[in-house]
Protein backbone atom coordinates (compact mmCIF):
# COMPACT_ATOMS: atom_id res chain seq x y z
CA UNK A 1 0.00 0.00 0.00
CA UNK A 2 1.12 3.52 -0.49
CA UNK A 3 0.07 7.03 0.30
CA UNK A 4 -3.26 7.97 -1.28
CA UNK A 5 -3.67 10.60 -3.97
CA UNK A 6 -5.24 13.58 -2.24
CA UNK A 7 -8.30 15.26 -3.72
CA UNK A 8 -8.50 18.85 -2.52
CA UNK A 9 -11.33 21.34 -3.02
CA UNK A 10 -10.31 24.98 -2.94
CA UNK A 11 -12.53 27.77 -1.66
CA UNK A 12 -11.92 31.44 -2.42
CA UNK A 13 -12.83 33.41 0.68
CA UNK A 14 -13.35 37.17 0.73
CA UNK A 15 -13.93 38.84 4.09
CA UNK A 16 -15.28 35.59 5.51
CA UNK A 17 -17.53 34.72 2.57
CA UNK A 18 -17.05 32.21 -0.23
CA UNK A 19 -16.79 33.93 -3.59
CA UNK A 20 -16.65 32.64 -7.17
CA UNK A 21 -20.13 31.23 -6.84
CA UNK A 22 -20.97 27.99 -5.18
CA UNK A 23 -24.03 26.15 -6.37
CA UNK A 24 -24.93 23.40 -3.97
CA UNK A 25 -28.29 22.09 -3.02
CA UNK A 26 -29.17 21.55 0.62
CA UNK A 27 -26.86 24.22 1.93
CA UNK A 28 -28.29 26.64 4.43
CA UNK A 29 -25.79 29.26 3.40
CA UNK A 30 -23.76 28.65 0.24
CA UNK A 31 -21.50 31.56 1.13
CA UNK A 32 -20.41 30.18 4.49
CA UNK A 33 -16.95 28.62 4.19
CA UNK A 34 -17.37 26.72 7.44
CA UNK A 35 -20.53 24.96 6.29
CA UNK A 36 -19.01 24.21 2.89
CA UNK A 37 -15.89 22.82 4.53
CA UNK A 38 -18.08 20.42 6.48
CA UNK A 39 -19.89 19.37 3.31
CA UNK A 40 -16.63 18.64 1.48
CA UNK A 41 -15.32 16.74 4.50
CA UNK A 42 -18.43 14.56 4.43
CA UNK A 43 -17.90 14.08 0.67
CA UNK A 44 -14.45 12.60 1.29
CA UNK A 45 -12.16 15.58 0.72
CA UNK A 46 -8.64 14.66 1.85
CA UNK A 47 -7.70 18.20 2.65
CA UNK A 48 -9.18 21.68 2.31
CA UNK A 49 -7.65 24.81 0.88
CA UNK A 50 -8.88 28.33 1.58
CA UNK A 51 -7.55 31.02 -0.67
CA UNK A 52 -8.03 34.31 1.14
CA UNK A 53 -8.71 36.95 -1.49
CA UNK A 54 -9.62 39.63 1.05
CA UNK A 55 -8.27 42.86 -0.34
CA UNK A 56 -8.29 44.94 2.83
CA UNK A 57 -5.92 43.94 5.60
CA UNK A 58 -8.46 45.34 8.07
CA UNK A 59 -10.69 42.37 7.26
CA UNK A 60 -7.98 39.84 8.08
CA UNK A 61 -9.48 39.14 11.49
CA UNK A 62 -12.51 37.72 9.70
CA UNK A 63 -10.25 35.23 7.95
CA UNK A 64 -8.75 34.06 11.21
CA UNK A 65 -12.23 33.63 12.59
CA UNK A 66 -13.26 31.49 9.60
CA UNK A 67 -10.13 29.37 10.02
CA UNK A 68 -10.86 28.94 13.74
CA UNK A 69 -14.45 27.91 13.20
CA UNK A 70 -13.49 25.52 10.42
CA UNK A 71 -10.71 23.88 12.43
CA UNK A 72 -13.15 23.47 15.31
CA UNK A 73 -15.47 21.35 13.18
CA UNK A 74 -13.48 19.71 10.42
CA UNK A 75 -10.79 17.18 11.31
CA UNK A 76 -8.85 17.00 8.08
CA UNK A 77 -5.84 19.13 7.11
CA UNK A 78 -6.53 22.77 6.30
CA UNK A 79 -4.29 24.93 4.13
CA UNK A 80 -4.78 28.69 4.02
CA UNK A 81 -3.14 30.90 1.40
CA UNK A 82 -3.44 34.45 0.20
CA UNK A 83 -1.80 37.58 1.55
CA UNK A 84 0.81 35.78 3.66
CA UNK A 85 3.83 38.08 3.83
CA UNK A 86 5.65 37.44 7.12
CA UNK A 87 6.37 34.66 9.60
CA UNK A 88 3.97 36.41 11.99
CA UNK A 89 1.17 36.03 9.41
CA UNK A 90 1.99 32.30 9.38
CA UNK A 91 1.99 32.16 13.17
CA UNK A 92 -1.47 33.74 13.37
CA UNK A 93 -2.91 31.31 10.82
CA UNK A 94 -1.40 28.28 12.55
CA UNK A 95 -2.68 29.45 15.91
CA UNK A 96 -6.13 29.91 14.42
CA UNK A 97 -6.02 26.23 13.40
CA UNK A 98 -4.47 26.08 9.92
CA UNK A 99 -2.12 23.15 9.34
CA UNK A 100 -0.37 24.54 6.30
CA UNK A 101 0.07 27.96 4.82
CA UNK A 102 0.33 28.86 1.15
CA UNK A 103 2.85 31.48 0.11
CA UNK A 104 2.99 32.97 -3.37
CA UNK A 105 3.83 36.58 -4.29
CA UNK A 106 5.67 37.43 -1.09
CA UNK A 107 8.13 34.58 -1.70
CA UNK A 108 8.81 35.82 -5.23
CA UNK A 109 9.53 39.28 -3.88
CA UNK A 110 11.67 37.92 -1.06
CA UNK A 111 12.68 34.24 -1.40
CA UNK A 112 14.32 34.27 2.06
CA UNK A 113 10.78 34.22 3.47
CA UNK A 114 10.60 30.52 2.54
CA UNK A 115 13.61 29.68 4.68
CA UNK A 116 12.39 31.85 7.54
CA UNK A 117 9.03 30.07 7.65
CA UNK A 118 10.61 26.61 7.35
CA UNK A 119 13.11 27.41 10.08
CA UNK A 120 10.48 28.66 12.53
CA UNK A 121 7.60 26.25 11.87
CA UNK A 122 9.08 23.36 9.89
CA UNK A 123 8.90 22.87 6.15
CA UNK A 124 5.74 20.77 6.40
CA UNK A 125 3.66 23.93 7.00
CA UNK A 126 4.83 25.65 3.85
CA UNK A 127 3.06 25.21 0.53
CA UNK A 128 4.69 27.19 -2.23
CA UNK A 129 1.98 28.29 -4.60
CA UNK A 130 3.26 29.03 -8.12
CA UNK A 131 1.14 30.56 -10.88
CA UNK A 132 2.86 29.31 -14.01
CA UNK A 133 2.31 29.81 -17.72
CA UNK A 134 4.21 29.42 -20.96
CA UNK A 135 6.12 32.52 -21.96
CA UNK A 136 4.03 34.39 -24.50
CA UNK A 137 5.19 35.60 -27.85
CA UNK A 138 7.21 38.75 -27.36
CA UNK A 139 7.72 37.95 -23.66
CA UNK A 140 11.09 37.55 -22.01
CA UNK A 141 12.22 33.99 -22.79
CA UNK A 142 13.09 31.58 -19.94
CA UNK A 143 15.21 28.41 -20.22
CA UNK A 144 12.23 26.07 -19.80
CA UNK A 145 9.69 28.17 -21.65
CA UNK A 146 7.58 28.36 -18.47
CA UNK A 147 7.50 31.47 -16.32
CA UNK A 148 6.14 32.46 -12.93
CA UNK A 149 3.42 35.09 -12.94
CA UNK A 150 1.69 37.21 -10.32
CA UNK A 151 -1.70 38.90 -10.08
CA UNK A 152 -3.59 35.84 -11.26
CA UNK A 153 -1.43 35.36 -14.32
CA UNK A 154 -1.67 38.94 -15.51
CA UNK A 155 1.90 39.93 -14.69
CA UNK A 156 5.10 38.29 -15.88
CA UNK A 157 8.03 38.02 -13.54
CA UNK A 158 10.52 36.75 -16.10
CA UNK A 159 11.47 34.01 -13.59
CA UNK A 160 11.86 30.51 -14.99
CA UNK A 161 9.11 28.43 -13.37
CA UNK A 162 11.04 25.17 -13.11
CA UNK A 163 14.07 26.86 -11.61
CA UNK A 164 11.80 28.66 -9.16
CA UNK A 165 10.11 25.45 -7.99
CA UNK A 166 13.46 23.74 -7.56
CA UNK A 167 14.87 26.71 -5.68
CA UNK A 168 11.83 27.03 -3.43
CA UNK A 169 12.00 23.33 -2.52
CA UNK A 170 15.69 23.78 -1.73
CA UNK A 171 14.94 26.79 0.46
CA UNK A 172 12.40 24.86 2.52
CA UNK A 173 9.03 24.60 0.78
CA UNK A 174 7.43 21.33 1.90
CA UNK A 175 5.08 21.09 -1.03
CA UNK A 176 4.33 22.86 -4.31
CA UNK A 177 0.89 23.92 -5.47
CA UNK A 178 1.30 24.20 -9.22
CA UNK A 179 -1.33 26.41 -10.81
CA UNK A 180 -1.31 26.32 -14.59
CA UNK A 181 -2.50 29.72 -15.75
CA UNK A 182 -2.67 28.35 -19.31
CA UNK A 183 -5.06 25.57 -18.30
CA UNK A 184 -6.95 27.50 -15.62
CA UNK A 185 -10.54 28.09 -16.62
CA UNK A 186 -10.30 26.05 -19.85
CA UNK A 187 -11.89 22.93 -18.32
CA UNK A 188 -9.87 20.96 -20.87
CA UNK A 189 -7.69 19.11 -18.42
CA UNK A 190 -4.57 19.66 -16.34
CA UNK A 191 -1.35 20.89 -17.91
CA UNK A 192 0.41 17.53 -18.09
CA UNK A 193 3.58 18.86 -19.68
CA UNK A 194 3.99 21.35 -16.83
CA UNK A 195 3.35 18.69 -14.17
CA UNK A 196 5.89 16.33 -15.75
CA UNK A 197 8.48 19.10 -16.06
CA UNK A 198 8.22 20.18 -12.41
CA UNK A 199 8.06 16.57 -11.19
CA UNK A 200 11.39 15.92 -12.88
CA UNK A 201 12.96 18.77 -10.90
CA UNK A 202 11.63 18.45 -7.34
CA UNK A 203 11.14 15.66 -4.81
CA UNK A 204 8.59 17.43 -2.63
CA UNK A 205 4.89 16.60 -3.10
CA UNK A 206 3.18 18.30 -6.02
CA UNK A 207 -0.43 19.49 -6.09
CA UNK A 208 -1.78 19.97 -9.62
CA UNK A 209 -4.27 22.78 -10.15
CA UNK A 210 -5.95 24.40 -13.12
CA UNK A 211 -7.93 22.95 -15.98
CA UNK A 212 -10.08 20.27 -14.37
CA UNK A 213 -13.34 20.01 -16.27
CA UNK A 214 -14.19 16.31 -16.27
CA UNK A 215 -13.71 13.33 -14.00
CA UNK A 216 -11.37 11.76 -16.57
CA UNK A 217 -8.94 14.67 -16.27
CA UNK A 218 -7.61 13.70 -12.85
CA UNK A 219 -5.91 10.33 -13.44
CA UNK A 220 -3.61 11.67 -16.21
CA UNK A 221 -2.43 14.44 -13.84
CA UNK A 222 -1.48 11.79 -11.29
CA UNK A 223 0.21 9.68 -13.96
CA UNK A 224 2.19 12.78 -14.94
CA UNK A 225 3.52 13.04 -11.39
CA UNK A 226 0.99 14.89 -9.23
CA UNK A 227 0.64 13.66 -5.64
CA UNK A 228 -2.56 15.60 -5.14
CA UNK A 229 -5.17 17.26 -7.33
CA UNK A 230 -6.96 20.49 -6.56
CA UNK A 231 -10.11 21.90 -8.12
CA UNK A 232 -12.69 24.54 -7.31
CA UNK A 233 -15.48 25.30 -9.76
CA UNK A 234 -16.27 21.73 -10.82
CA UNK A 235 -16.89 20.79 -7.19
CA UNK A 236 -18.66 24.01 -6.22
CA UNK A 237 -21.14 23.70 -9.05
CA UNK A 238 -21.73 20.03 -8.40
CA UNK A 239 -20.58 19.09 -11.88
CA UNK A 240 -19.18 15.99 -10.24
CA UNK A 241 -18.26 15.06 -6.71
CA UNK A 242 -15.07 14.24 -4.90
CA UNK A 243 -16.30 10.66 -4.70
CA UNK A 244 -16.61 10.59 -8.51
CA UNK A 245 -13.01 11.74 -8.85
CA UNK A 246 -11.82 9.11 -6.40
CA UNK A 247 -13.70 6.37 -8.20
CA UNK A 248 -12.07 7.36 -11.46
CA UNK A 249 -8.61 7.49 -9.85
CA UNK A 250 -9.17 4.09 -8.26
CA UNK A 251 -10.19 2.59 -11.60
CA UNK A 252 -7.00 3.97 -13.11
CA UNK A 253 -5.04 2.08 -10.42
CA UNK A 254 -4.17 4.99 -8.14
CA UNK A 255 -4.60 4.58 -4.36
CA UNK A 256 -7.28 6.78 -2.80
CA UNK A 257 -8.77 7.08 0.66
Amino acid sequence: MSVAVRVIPCLDVDAGRVVKGVNFENLRDAGDPVELAGTYDADGADELTFLDVTASSGDRETTYDVVRRTADQVFIPLTVGGGVRTTDDVDRLLRAGADKVGVNTAAIARPELIGEIAERFGRQVLVLSADVRRVREGGQPTPSGFEVTTHGGRRSTGIDALEWCERAAGLGAGEILLNSMDADGTKEGFDLELIRSVRARVEVPLIASGGAGAVEHFAPAVAAGADAVLAATVFHFGQFTIADVKKSLREAGHPVR
Binding site: M1, S2, V3, A4, V5, R6, D41, D46, R68, A71, D72, F75, I76, P77, L94, R95, A96, G97, A98, D99, F121, G122, R123, Q124, V125, G174, E175, E203, V204, P205, D227, A228, R257
Partner: protein, 219 residues
Amino acid sequence: MPSRVVVLDYGSGNLRSAQRAMERTGADVTVTSDPHAALDADGLVVPGVGAFSSCMSSLRAAGGDRIIGRRVAGGRPVLGICVGMQVLFDRGVERTDPRPGAEEEVTEGCGEWPGTVDRLRAPIVPHMGWNTVRPPEDTRLFAGIGPQDRFYFVHSYAVREWEFVATNERIPRPKVTWAEHGEPFVAAVENGPLWATQFHPEKSGDAGARILANWVDTL
Protein backbone atom coordinates in the same frame (compact mmCIF):
# COMPACT_ATOMS: atom_id res chain seq x y z
CA MET B 1 -16.35 12.14 35.55
CA PRO B 2 -14.76 12.72 32.14
CA SER B 3 -11.04 12.00 31.89
CA ARG B 4 -8.83 15.05 32.36
CA VAL B 5 -6.45 15.42 29.44
CA VAL B 6 -3.71 18.02 29.16
CA VAL B 7 -2.29 18.97 25.76
CA LEU B 8 1.21 20.14 26.55
CA ASP B 9 1.79 23.63 25.16
CA TYR B 10 5.51 24.10 24.66
CA GLY B 11 5.19 26.33 21.61
CA SER B 12 4.90 23.65 18.97
CA GLY B 13 2.15 22.97 16.48
CA ASN B 14 -1.50 23.47 15.84
CA LEU B 15 -2.77 22.82 19.36
CA ARG B 16 -6.28 23.95 18.62
CA SER B 17 -6.97 20.93 16.43
CA ALA B 18 -5.51 18.55 19.01
CA GLN B 19 -7.68 20.10 21.70
CA ARG B 20 -10.88 20.04 19.66
CA ALA B 21 -10.35 16.51 18.37
CA MET B 22 -9.67 15.30 21.91
CA GLU B 23 -12.77 17.07 23.20
CA ARG B 24 -14.84 15.11 20.69
CA THR B 25 -14.04 11.97 22.69
CA GLY B 26 -15.77 13.52 25.70
CA ALA B 27 -12.57 14.23 27.60
CA ASP B 28 -12.09 17.38 29.64
CA VAL B 29 -9.19 18.99 27.75
CA THR B 30 -6.82 21.75 28.85
CA VAL B 31 -4.03 23.23 26.73
CA THR B 32 -1.32 24.43 29.08
CA SER B 33 2.40 24.65 29.74
CA ASP B 34 1.85 24.32 33.49
CA PRO B 35 4.00 21.40 34.74
CA HIS B 36 1.72 20.66 37.70
CA ALA B 37 -1.35 20.35 35.49
CA ALA B 38 0.69 18.21 33.05
CA LEU B 39 1.81 15.88 35.85
CA ASP B 40 -1.60 15.74 37.46
CA ALA B 41 -3.74 15.01 34.37
CA ASP B 42 -5.22 11.57 33.71
CA GLY B 43 -3.59 11.68 30.29
CA LEU B 44 -0.92 13.90 28.75
CA VAL B 45 -0.74 14.62 25.01
CA VAL B 46 2.65 15.67 23.68
CA PRO B 47 2.15 17.25 20.24
CA GLY B 48 4.96 18.41 17.99
CA VAL B 49 5.65 19.58 14.47
CA GLY B 50 8.70 20.92 12.68
CA ALA B 51 12.32 20.04 13.23
CA PHE B 52 13.42 17.50 15.87
CA SER B 53 16.09 19.82 17.26
CA SER B 54 13.84 22.85 17.70
CA CYS B 55 11.02 20.74 19.14
CA MET B 56 13.39 19.09 21.58
CA SER B 57 14.90 22.36 22.77
CA SER B 58 11.42 23.87 23.31
CA LEU B 59 10.32 20.73 25.11
CA ARG B 60 13.35 20.85 27.42
CA ALA B 61 12.88 24.56 28.06
CA ALA B 62 9.33 23.79 29.22
CA GLY B 63 10.55 20.86 31.38
CA GLY B 64 8.53 18.54 29.16
CA ASP B 65 11.16 15.79 29.03
CA ARG B 66 11.11 15.50 32.84
CA ILE B 67 7.31 15.58 32.95
CA ILE B 68 7.16 12.73 30.43
CA GLY B 69 9.78 10.76 32.35
CA ARG B 70 8.00 11.17 35.68
CA ARG B 71 4.63 10.25 34.25
CA VAL B 72 5.98 7.13 32.54
CA ALA B 73 7.84 6.07 35.71
CA GLY B 74 4.55 6.38 37.58
CA GLY B 75 2.60 4.42 34.98
CA ARG B 76 0.57 7.48 33.95
CA PRO B 77 -0.53 7.65 30.30
CA VAL B 78 1.27 9.82 27.75
CA LEU B 79 0.41 10.09 24.06
CA GLY B 80 3.02 11.53 21.70
CA ILE B 81 1.91 12.78 18.29
CA CYS B 82 4.14 13.26 15.19
CA VAL B 83 7.38 14.93 16.35
CA GLY B 84 5.90 14.45 19.83
CA MET B 85 6.47 10.74 19.14
CA GLN B 86 9.90 11.20 17.57
CA VAL B 87 11.33 13.05 20.59
CA LEU B 88 10.56 10.02 22.77
CA PHE B 89 13.42 8.14 21.09
CA ASP B 90 17.16 8.37 21.86
CA ARG B 91 18.15 10.76 19.14
CA GLY B 92 17.22 12.61 15.98
CA VAL B 93 19.55 12.95 13.01
CA GLU B 94 18.79 15.88 10.71
CA ARG B 95 20.39 16.06 7.32
CA THR B 96 20.62 18.83 4.80
CA ASP B 97 20.94 16.16 2.14
CA PRO B 98 19.76 12.52 2.28
CA ARG B 99 22.90 11.17 0.62
CA PRO B 100 25.57 9.59 2.82
CA GLY B 101 28.40 11.87 3.81
CA ALA B 102 26.25 14.98 3.89
CA GLU B 103 26.27 17.30 6.85
CA GLU B 104 24.18 15.99 9.74
CA GLU B 105 23.03 17.32 13.09
CA VAL B 106 22.40 14.88 15.93
CA THR B 107 20.06 15.90 18.76
CA GLU B 108 19.50 13.94 21.93
CA GLY B 109 15.86 13.00 22.52
CA CYS B 110 13.97 12.01 25.69
CA GLY B 111 15.38 8.48 25.47
CA GLU B 112 12.21 6.71 26.57
CA TRP B 113 12.80 4.24 23.74
CA PRO B 114 16.06 3.22 22.08
CA GLY B 115 16.36 4.19 18.46
CA THR B 116 17.10 6.91 15.98
CA VAL B 117 14.85 9.25 14.04
CA ASP B 118 16.35 9.67 10.58
CA ARG B 119 15.38 10.93 7.14
CA LEU B 120 12.99 8.75 5.18
CA ARG B 121 14.49 7.15 2.09
CA ALA B 122 11.69 7.71 -0.42
CA PRO B 123 11.34 9.29 -3.85
CA ILE B 124 8.91 11.93 -2.55
CA VAL B 125 9.67 13.60 0.78
CA PRO B 126 7.93 14.85 2.96
CA HIS B 127 5.62 11.85 3.27
CA MET B 128 2.44 13.88 3.09
CA GLY B 129 -1.05 12.45 2.97
CA TRP B 130 -3.26 9.54 3.96
CA ASN B 131 -1.67 6.14 4.34
CA THR B 132 -2.59 2.72 5.67
CA VAL B 133 -0.91 1.08 8.68
CA ARG B 134 -0.18 -2.47 9.87
CA PRO B 135 -0.99 -2.78 13.56
CA PRO B 136 -0.06 -5.94 15.46
CA GLU B 137 -2.71 -8.22 16.89
CA ASP B 138 -4.31 -7.33 20.21
CA THR B 139 -3.64 -3.65 19.74
CA ARG B 140 -5.81 -1.39 21.84
CA LEU B 141 -4.90 1.82 20.04
CA PHE B 142 -6.20 0.50 16.69
CA ALA B 143 -9.23 -1.35 18.01
CA GLY B 144 -12.06 -1.02 15.48
CA ILE B 145 -9.73 0.10 12.70
CA GLY B 146 -9.72 -1.88 9.45
CA PRO B 147 -6.91 -2.50 6.95
CA GLN B 148 -8.41 0.02 4.50
CA ASP B 149 -8.54 2.86 7.03
CA ARG B 150 -6.06 5.63 6.39
CA PHE B 151 -4.35 8.20 8.60
CA TYR B 152 -2.86 11.59 7.81
CA PHE B 153 0.93 11.73 7.87
CA VAL B 154 3.20 14.69 7.29
CA HIS B 155 6.88 14.12 8.05
CA SER B 156 10.30 13.79 6.45
CA TYR B 157 11.90 11.86 9.30
CA ALA B 158 10.91 8.61 10.95
CA VAL B 159 12.05 5.70 13.10
CA ARG B 160 13.15 3.19 10.51
CA GLU B 161 14.26 0.47 12.91
CA TRP B 162 12.63 -0.63 16.16
CA GLU B 163 15.51 -1.44 18.51
CA PHE B 164 13.75 -2.25 21.77
CA VAL B 165 13.98 -5.98 22.49
CA ALA B 166 12.20 -7.14 25.63
CA THR B 167 14.17 -10.04 27.07
CA ASN B 168 12.22 -10.37 30.29
CA GLU B 169 9.07 -12.32 29.51
CA ARG B 170 7.21 -10.82 32.45
CA ILE B 171 7.39 -7.39 30.82
CA PRO B 172 4.63 -6.92 28.24
CA ARG B 173 5.98 -6.60 24.75
CA PRO B 174 5.68 -3.18 23.09
CA LYS B 175 3.16 -3.21 20.26
CA VAL B 176 4.66 -1.59 17.22
CA THR B 177 2.59 -0.53 14.21
CA TRP B 178 4.35 -0.06 10.88
CA ALA B 179 3.58 1.94 7.77
CA GLU B 180 5.42 2.30 4.52
CA HIS B 181 6.63 5.19 2.41
CA GLY B 182 9.60 4.21 0.30
CA GLU B 183 10.55 1.94 3.20
CA PRO B 184 8.88 0.64 6.38
CA PHE B 185 8.83 2.96 9.38
CA VAL B 186 7.26 3.04 12.84
CA ALA B 187 3.75 4.52 12.60
CA ALA B 188 2.67 3.96 16.21
CA VAL B 189 3.77 2.37 19.50
CA GLU B 190 1.90 1.09 22.55
CA ASN B 191 4.25 0.42 25.41
CA GLY B 192 2.88 0.40 28.95
CA PRO B 193 1.72 3.94 29.74
CA LEU B 194 3.60 5.41 26.76
CA TRP B 195 1.75 5.46 23.44
CA ALA B 196 2.56 7.43 20.33
CA THR B 197 1.64 7.94 16.70
CA GLN B 198 3.72 9.30 13.83
CA PHE B 199 0.53 10.31 12.03
CA HIS B 200 -1.89 13.02 13.17
CA PRO B 201 -5.00 11.37 14.66
CA GLU B 202 -6.46 14.84 15.25
CA LYS B 203 -6.34 15.42 11.47
CA SER B 204 -7.34 11.93 10.39
CA GLY B 205 -11.12 12.33 10.27
CA ASP B 206 -13.24 9.54 11.76
CA ALA B 207 -10.41 6.97 11.83
CA GLY B 208 -8.31 9.40 13.84
CA ALA B 209 -11.21 10.13 16.20
CA ARG B 210 -11.42 6.40 16.89
CA ILE B 211 -7.72 6.30 17.80
CA LEU B 212 -8.09 9.20 20.24
CA ALA B 213 -11.21 7.65 21.78
CA ASN B 214 -9.34 4.34 22.19
CA TRP B 215 -6.60 6.14 24.09
CA VAL B 216 -9.00 8.16 26.25
CA ASP B 217 -10.81 4.90 27.09
CA THR B 218 -7.66 3.68 28.84
CA LEU B 219 -7.42 6.72 31.13
